[in-house]
Subunit: 142 residues, 2 copies
């Protein structure tokens, strides 16, 4: 018998049950039925949750992800979107790389004040340029 109850899914996916209920409400996942009042899921829910995680990582909102699951075939548009996201990631990677180098330097730079370090000042330009697009907004978990 392969049905997983919500606690099992929570354990395997690392997501709290409340998030799974929330995702279901949003239409991102569906439960197959109930055992008593407990939701049960098909085992491939794990794959779908991974897919959702992927989408989030790539910067899609939950609504966008839900929309993608919604329609069936026109993978045409999907692929365009995927390409676009890949490009976006490409740029982001470039900037983050520069940023990482800058931070590394700043961490070990002997200049009395960071502002006096030319390398640091280059870094600032990158950040300033970057700041106009896609402000990162962190809910860190701890």
């Amino acid at each position: 018998m392969k049905l997983l109850d919500i606690a099992e899914v929570a354990k395997r996916s690392g997501l709290p049950a409340s998030t799974l209920r929330f995702y279901e409400e949003k239409g991102l996942i569906e439960s197959l039925g109930r055992r008593g009042l407990r939701r049960t899921f098909e085992p491939d829910i794990i794959g779908r949750l991974a897919l959702i995680a992927l989408g989030r990582t790539a910067g899609f909102t939950l609504d966008e992800i839900a929309a993608m699951f919604g329609r069936e075939l026109p993978a045409q548009l999907d692929r365009e979107l995927l390409s676009a996201k890949a490009e976006e990631l490409e740029r982001m990677i470039g900037q983050l790389t520069a940023l990482r180098n800058g931070l590394r330097h700043a961490a070990t730079c002997p200049a009395p004040s960071h502002m006096e370090c030319p390398s640091f000042r280059r870094l600032l330009k990158i950040a300033a340029a970057r700041s106009n697009r896609t402000p990162p907004k962190g809910r860190r978990k701890s």
Copy 2:
């Protein structure tokens, strides 16, 4: 005469005036005085705003950034923090790179369903692993 009024700062930094007021309220920047009722800033506000942008890009919250500006000397801790952030970025870059590769592949993959593509399934594992740390949360500006 070098003082900039808020509109000038807004234009040069690309940030709306409301954000500048908000930053001031938060203690991230300070205005030097008023010309009439209008705030005026020293020109190096631009540098500071770049620094704030840098911090945000690196994943600090505004409160963390404010705290950093607060204390003066113990650059010791600063540098540790910077190293830590650099490491974090390093990991993030690795994952985003894998992700970008995966997206690129998915965009051109001929498999009828993505789920049937082994390359795509590898991608899912990365995303699933990534999903536990630092959920990205996008306010896109458009």
